[in-house]
Symmetry: C2
């Protein structure tokens, strides 16, 4: 059995988290701190985000533990006193987490998650929590755009070979499924997350046979129910003719060829040509899958150019969110020991104190605007979005299944008005600050100016 | 103890690798195949690549094994016959690998690695091998540019929180160190790869104290030898004055403040202002570290604008290779059963057969041009770059240490003429094809046209 995530990942943190923790320990600063996790700005061509990765963050928090091996390493750095290492040995996460459920649609500046715990615990977990939630949120957001562009056609994940590492490979499969993808080629993700799996064949498979058609014949004999023949190895039209021949041979055995795959060239034109060839051979049921450098932009272009594609395999560009490979996601201290806090660093002002996000809908049920408020404020006519998910270091209930999170996303996404989903240059969705938050923000800012800038 | 990499990752592959393998098994196709791993084109602003990730790929190959649990999962998909699953149970990687040593500088179309093995083995490992080598090569290449831009100033890795997952977090720390970074904030990478670790403090640390200067004082008391004070939380100039006061208090105790950190605003201007403040207080030894959205471009801009920065912390943009978040790296079958093979797909023609790369140097030892040749060709006046690293599934020798690979990179990089290192729009380094490869390429292309395109 693999060790729990929180044990394997306790050192997946920055050195400064540990040196700061040692300072808090030395000063006996064990009061409660609240940190807010949020995205500071939209990358180009993004107007919404899809929350994902919470389950992993909670798994980490609920199993966090420094093992003897970790402590030995820390000791060997000669930076830490033994009293602090002894403290770390007994450290568990005992705090509270409030969060948007996975699959939620959210916007810039809105907390995705708030952690409240003794400051050492809340601080130490920063690195892992950002890492986990920013990756899956990045990918779910990116993947949702391919699903949108495909206009109901199935989209599948072929990204594993070029994701940024193996952990990303797994998380990309999960997050893209959450955002509406139909399946993945990734077998380990299929196993771990119980995802539908899908596959075709490679050019190497074709070229390893003396003749292309023999490669086709062998494959359909072994996998008659899941055969998607790759037809571009030498020439698409010639490949389509051979696939048609094989499809007719299958007919003779009472089988049906599922699909052909196009992987290069002008997909809009080639797909029409291949569709014609298949139809001419009486094979209207043989579907066309397209792959090769697809993302939401290429899907939209191919469909706009009249491409006859029935499903899309999306790989690298989704798997690394190529046009926006990171979000400016930050985890900021907003309250410590009952005192609301903020920093003033140029261009990076944060919203103070514990918060809640309220969402209003219009009379057709469409999202009409959000307000970020202080946690205790109650706003009329809206629904609060952040929910308690962990208390005293334990889950408050059963987490949604991945399929439930996927359903939540699809339901919320349907309520987001079309303009905010535009693939290019979407307008900003309206997010306001409540009167209570605005007033407190101004008050804290004034206090800091007096305290820190008057004195030096 | 953790299970070996090749056991944990045996299912980290695409479904089609397994269905194709089942076809080969069914057809008793067990002849030797050679696959070449190479990068098809340069992303914008790249004119060279830095090979990295080989050690991980070899660790995977030498421990590859399908466990009972994996086989149970495959069985549950109902796609595979028991004879094939039994075959997988006994499958080990028994092949040969030739590769560029980690740290090698290489160019587009040149093989980074060639795998020769019975086709099922060579095919199944494709996904993991590309994943491992493409990530570290991507990051080492990106990181080398920051080192170059910093002109000898130390550059450190602060990327962990926003790398694409935890595996990437580790590999980024390793690959950036290989490419000349001085240290990482990533503790787990520090432990696993024995990397120098480094850290400062966060804004949350400052804001958790009633006064900024108290936060400084506590930190330097605990960590007098590694203290880098973050001074931009409220105001850089005011922060610098407080840091100077703390530095003088340290002097009184016989200690020296190491550095201050700037993290926002116009770093060129602020660093000059902060340098003046520190110098005015008689603290010329206190260094200035800059962080916040740095990559090679921002480093170059800040230095060109007269920034007085002594070292750079580089995070997200290096950690995801933001301006080029993937390479078009492919693993292509080039020979099977003694027969050179290729595909013709539009724009994706591959170079046939087993290959070697030869490099020439000018009389000052500078790199003067490479030639891609057939493996058995011998080219006068050059050095062969691909080396045997695995035979019959076992390492042929001891792998270089990470520090040795780092030294190899720095030595090779020094030999690459400056124009090819330009941060923007570098010219293409000369890479030629040998006469033998050119002739065979043309011959195979003609044969395919006759065989596959004449017949349909």
């Amino acid at each position: 059995m693999e060790r729990p995530l929180g044990e394997r990942m306790s050192l997946l943190t920055d050195l400064y988290q540990l040196t700061m923790a040692a300072c808090y320990f030395d000063q006996e600063m064990h009061e409660e701190a609240t940190f807010s996790l949020f995205i500071r700005k939209y990358p180009e061509n993004r107007g919404y985000f899809v929350a994902a990765g919470l389950a992993e963050a909670l798994e980490y928090l609920s199993t966090l533990r420094f093992t003897k091996d970790d402590l030995d390493y820390l000791d060997a750095t000669r930076l830490f006193r033994w009293q602090f290492l002894e403290f770390l040995q007994n450290l568990r996460f005992t705090g509270e987490v409030r969060a948007l459920p996975e699959g939620s649609v959210f916007f810039k500046d809105e907390p995705v998650l708030e952690v409240t715990a003794p400051i050492i615990e809340a601080q130490l977990v920063e690195t892992f929590v950002i890492n986990a939630i920013s990756l899956q949120t990045l990918i779910a957001t990116k993947a949702s755009r391919s699903v949108l562009a495909a206009q109901g056609r199935p989209v599948v994940d072929f990204s594993l070979r070029r994701t940024q590492g193996t952990d990303a490979g797994l998380k990309v499969a999960r997050a893209s499924y959450l955002a509406g993808f139909a399946a993945t080629s990734n077998m380990l993700a299929g196993k771990i997350y119980a995802l539908p799996i899908v596959g075709t064949m490679a050019h190497s498979y074709i070229t390893s046979f003396p003749k292309e058609i023999e490669a086709f014949r062998v494959f359909v004999r072994l996998f008659p129910e899941i055969a998607t023949l790759l037809i571009d190895t030498y020439d698409n039209a010639a490949g389509a003719e051979k696939a048609a021949r094989v499809a007719k041979e299958m007919h003779g055995r009472g089988e049906r060829l599922q699909a052909v795959r196009l992987d290069s060239g002008d997909i809009a034109a080639i797909s029409r040509q291949v569709r014609d060839i298949l139809d001419r051979h009486g094979l209207p049921h043989v579907r066309i899958l397209a792959s090769g450098g697809f993302d939401e932009f290429k899907i939209a272009r191919v469909l706009a150019a009249g491409g006859r594609v029935d499903s899309f395999a999306v790989g690298t560009k989704m798997g690394v969110s190529a046009d926006a490979p990171y979000f400016d996601m930050a985890y900021k201290l907003v309250k410590y020991g009952g005192r609301p806090v903020m920093k003033l660093s140029t261009g990076k002002v944060t919203l103070v104190d514990q918060k809640q996000v309220w969402r209003r809908h219009d009379d057709q049920g469409r999202m009409a605007g959000d307000t970020i408020a202080l946690r205790e404020e109650v706003l009329e006519g809206g629904d609060p979005l952040l929910q308690p998910v962990m208390q005293a270091g334990r889950l408050t209930g059963t987490l949604p299944t991945l399929n439930e999170s996927r359903a939540l996303f699809l339901e919320q996404f349907a309520r987001l008005p079309e303009p905010y989903k535009a693939l290019e240059a979407p307008p900003p969705y309206p997010v306001a600050l409540s009167p209570g938050l605005t007033a407190l923000q101004q008050q804290v800012e004034r206090e800091i100016h007096t305290r820190e800038l008057g004195e030096s």
